[in-house]
C-alpha cells in the first residue's frame, strides 16, 4: 500500500499555464516563475485503440465487485515514436480508499507473463499504459441511486499513484479513461487518453499534470491514400463490430437483444438470419443504401451547380474533388462491347463448372456412404 504524497492538486486536463498551443513547447515557461518547470508537453502523441480493448474494459467494469467505484487494468500494445497502438488489455485487481491505493503487482506480473507467452515472435506486444474507469466523487462508497447527478471525476489523486507504478513498468505510460458514469453530461461512453508529465518546483517533483492526447478507435479502414495505417485492427474485427452495431440498431427498432451469427443449414433459425451477408436480401438492402448515398451526392451537386457554391466554397471544392476521384475509380468498360460479354461469360462458365462438379461429388459421396453401410460391421 502506498500513501499519497500530501499534495492536494486536482489534476484535470491541463494546467492553464501550458494552454497556449497544443504544439510542442519545451522546458521552462517564461511567463511564470523560472523555478516552476513543466516537462515536455508533447501533445503530438496519438493513440489508436483496438475495439477489443474497449469491450474488455466495459466488461471488467460490469463485473466489478461492489463497493469498488472503478476498475483498473494494464494496457498492452506497440509504440512507434509518437504513435501508440493499444491492441490488448487485462484487468488488474486493486483497492482504493481515500488516498490509499493497493495494486495487485504480483497479479500484474504473472498475468503479463501468461499473456505474452502465446504471442508469436512477430507480434510484439508490451505494456504501454493502464486504463481506469470513472470514479464517483467522494470516494468509493457506491451511493445508492439518488436524484440528480452524482458527479464523477476521471482523474484523481490516486490516479497519480497508479500512474507512477506504471511508469515503472514502461516508459511514458498512456492512461486511458473510459467514462462509465452514464451521467447526463457524458453522451454514451466517452473515452480519453492522457499522458502525464511531472511538475517540478525548484527541482522537486510536486505533482503530475495529465495532458490529454488524441485518441481514436481503430476501425480497420485504410486511409485515403490506400495505405494501411500501421496498427489498425484487421478487417475481421471490423466485421464483428459491424455485426454488433447492426444488432444494437435492430434492438433499437424493437428486435431482440440477440444477434444470430450462424445456424445449421436449413434450420428455422437460418431463415430469419437478417445479418447474413450472402443472401439476396442483404444484397437488396445494401443496394438501397448505395442508391440513397448516390441520390444525396447528386442532389448536392445539383445544388452547387444551381447556386454557384454558396458560402463555404473551400469545403464545397474539397467535396467536389473527392467526388471526382471516387467516380474516376470506376473502370471504363465498354459495356456493349465484346470484351465485357466475354468477361461475364467466362465467369459464368467457371461458376457453372464448379457447381456441376460439387453436385457430382456429392452424389458420389452418397453412393459411397450407401456402399459403406452395406459392408456391415467389418472384421474386428
Amino acid at each position: 500500500v502506498r500513501s499519497a504524497n500530501g499534495s492536494t492538486h486536482h489534476h484535470h486536463s491541463h494546467i492553464p499555464i501550458s494552454n497556449k498551443h497544443p504544439l510542442q513547447t519545451n522546458m521552462t515557461n517564461h511567463t511564470s516563475s523560472p523555478a516552476l518547470t513543466i516537462g515536455s508537453t508533447n501533445t503530438n502523441v496519438s493513440v489508436h485503440i483496438h475495439p477489443l480493448v474497449l469491450l474488455s474494459v466495459l466488461d471488467h467494469h460490469t463485473r466489478r465487485q461492489e463497493p469498488n467505484g472503478r476498475v483498473i487494468g494494464t494496457l498492452l500494445g506497440r509504440r512507434e515514436g509518437n504513435h501508440v497502438t493499444i491492441t490488448n488489455c487485462f484487468a488488474v485487481p486493486h483497492a482504493e480508499r481515500g488516498d490509499e491505493v493497493a495494486i495487485g503487482k504480483d497479479f500484474n506480473r504473472q498475468m503479463l507473463s501468461l499473456c505474452l507467452s502465446h504471442i508469436g515472435a512477430s507480434k510484439h506486444e508490451s505494456v504501454v499504459g493502464w486504463y481506469g474507469t470513472a470514479l464517483p466523487e467522494g470516494g468509493n462508497e457506491d451511493v445508492a441511486e439518488e436524484e440528480g447527478d452524482k458527479s464523477y471525476v476521471t482523474i484523481t489523486d490516486t490516479s497519480s499513484l497508479i500512474h507512477d507504478f506504471y511508469a515503472g513498468e514502461c516508459e511514458d505510460p498512456i492512461h486511458l479513461v473510459v467514462d462509465t458514469s452514464m451521467s447526463q453530461a457524458s453522451a454514451g461512453v466517452p473515452m480519453k487518453a492522457y499522458r502525464s508529465v511531472p511538475l517540478t518546483v525548484k527541482g522537486m517533483a510536486l505533482a503530475n499534470v495529465f495532458h490529454e492526447v488524441r485518441c481514436s478507435i481503430s476501425t480497420g479502414r485504410s486511409s485515403s491514400d490506400n495505405e494501411q495505417v500501421e496498427g489498425t485492427c484487421s478487417v475481421a474485427e471490423r466485421i464483428v463490430m459491424d455485426k454488433m452495431s447492426k444488432g444494437v440498431q435492430a434492438r433499437a427498432n424493437g428486435g431482440s437483444e440477440l444477434t444470430l451469427i450462424s445456424a445449421p443449414a436449413g434450420s428455422i433459425e437460418e431463415e430469419s438470419n437478417i445479418t447474413d451477408n450472402t443472401s439476396i436480401r442483404s444484397l437488396e438492402s445494401g443496394m438501397k443504401k448505395l442508391l440513397d448515398l448516390l441520390e444525396n451526392a447528386s442532389e448536392f451537386v445539383d445544388n452547387v451547380v444551381a447556386n454557384g457554391g454558396g458560402t463555404d466554397s473551400d469545403k464545397t471544392e474539397e467535396i467536389g474533388r473527392k467526388l471526382t476521384d471516387t467516380i474516376s475509380m470506376v473502370p471504363a468498360i465498354d459495356c456493349m462491347g465484346a470484351d465485357f460479354d466475354k468477361m461475364i461469360y467466362n465467369n459464368m462458365q467457371d461458376l457453372l463448372m464448379v457447381s456441376y462438379l460439387s453436385n457430382l461429388t456429392k452424389t458420389q459421396l452418397s453412393v459411397a456412404e450407401k456402399l459403406n453401410s452395406a459392408i456391415g460391421t467389418g472384421a474386428s
Binding site: N88, R221, I239, S262
Partner: protein, 301 residues
C-alpha cells in the same frame, strides 16, 4: 462424474449465446496467428432450463515452443493458472468448451473428434467447440460455428467396438450461435453509431465486390487433396480384404486389424462440407453476376 443415464437426462444445449467480447477475442487471436491454426479455451455457464450455453470469455492457449524455455508451461497448467487469475477479477470460472481456427472450413479430422470427445466426457456432455474460419470471414461475413459430437457418435466412440458404421452427417451436431452484449457495451455502440454520420464499422458495401478471390480455388484444391485421401483409404480397405482372402485360403494367422473406418467417414463428411461451401459461394456470385450484367446493359441504352 455423473453416470450415463443422468447425463442423458440433463438438458442438452440447444443454442449458444456468446458475448461480443469473447467473439472479438477469438477473432483477434486467430487473425493474429495466421497462417497457423490455433486453439483456446471458452469460459461461461450453462443455463439448464433453456438449454442455453452462455460463453462470456475466451483465452488462447500458449504456443508450443520447441526449444522448451524454462517458463514453458504445459497447456493444462496454463489453463488452470489463467482461470485462477481470471477468477480474481470476477470472470466466470467455468470452462465450457474450446475454440479452434479452421482454414477454409476444414474441421472434420480425427484430432478434433478426439479432443471434443475428451471434452464431452471429462468436462460436460454439453461442451462445444467453436470453429472460426479466417478465410471465409470477409466481405462482411462472419463465420463462427458451434459443434458438438452427437449422442450416437459419443456412444459409438466410447464402446470399444471398432469399425461400426455411422452415417457421416450424423457425426457432428451444429448449434445456432447468437451474440449479445452487456448494457454498457450496447450504450457505447449505440452512441458510436449515432454520433457521426459516417458508419465507422459499416461493411455493407463489401459484399458488392465481384473480384474472383481465391476462395473457390482454395476450396477446389483442398477438395482434391481430400479426395486423394479418400481414395487412399479405399485402397487400404481393398488391400485388407485381399489379405483376408489369402489368409482364408492358406489358413494362416490373422492378417492384422482392419483399417479404421472413422477416417474415411470423416473425409466423406469434410468433402461434403467443401461442396456445400462452394455451392453457397457460387450461387451468391451467380446472382451478383446477373445483376452486374443487367445493370451495365441497362445503363448502356
Amino acid at each position: 462424474m455423473t453416470d450415463t443415464a443422468a447425463t442423458i437426462a440433463e438438458s442438452t444445449v440447444k443454442a449458444v449465446h456468446i458475448d461480443g467480447l469473447a467473439v472479438m477475442k477469438i477473432v483477434k487471436h486467430c487473425q493474429d496467428s495466421l497462417p497457423s491454426m490455433v486453439t483456446g479455451s471458452l469460459l461461461g455457464m450453462m443455463l439448464d432450463d433453456d438449454g442455453i450455453l452462455e460463453i462470456t470469455h475466451a483465452f488462447p492457449f500458449p504456443e508450443q515452443k520447441d526449444n522448451g524455455g524454462d517458463k514453458n508451461m504445459d497447456g493444462h497448467e496454463y489453463q488452470l493458472e489463467m482461470m485462477k487469475m481470471l477468477r480474481e477479477v470476477n470472470v466466470d470460472n467455468n470452462c465450457v468448451g474450446w475454440y479452434q481456427s479452421m482454414l477454409t472450413g476444414s474441421y472434420s479430422t480425427s484430432t478434433l473428434v478426439e479432443n471434443q470427445q475428451g471434452y464431452q466426457t471429462d468436462l460436460s456432455p454439453n461442451a462445444v467447440v467453436l470453429l472460426y474460419d479466417p478465410q471465409q470471414t470477409n466481405k462482411g461475413n462472419l463465420v463462427l460455428r458451434a459443434y458438438r459430437l452427437s449422442r450416437e457418435c459419443m456412444e459409438l466412440l466410447s464402446t470399444q467396438q471398432k469399425n461400426v458404421f455411422l452415417s457421416p452427417s450424423k457425426f457432428f451436431e451444429e448449434i445456432p450461435v447468437y451474440m449479445k452484449n452487456n448494457g454498457l457495451t450496447t450504450a457505447m455502440l449505440y452512441e458510436l453509431s449515432q454520433r457521426s454520420n459516417v458508419d465507422h464499422f459499416n461493411c455493407d458495401f463489401e459484399q458488392f465486390n465481384l473480384d474472383k478471390d481465391s476462395y473457390i480455388e482454395k476450396n477446389l484444391e483442398l477438395m482434391c487433396n481430400w479426395v486423394d485421401d479418400l481414395a487412399n483409404e479405399q485402397y487400404k480397405f481393398q488391400y485388407y480384404v485381399r489379405q483376408q482372402k489369402k489368409q482364408q485360403q492358406n489358413e494362416g494367422e490373422d492378417s492384422g486389424s482392419a483399417p479404421r473406418r472413422l477416417e474415411s467417414l470423416l473425409i466423406n463428411h469434410q468433402i461434403r462440407q467443401y461442396c456445400d461451401q462452394m455451392e453457397k459461394s457460387s450461387s451468391g456470385s451467380f446472382g451478383k453476376l446477373f445483376l452486374a450484367n443487367n445493370l451495365q446493359k441497362g445503363s448502356g441504352k
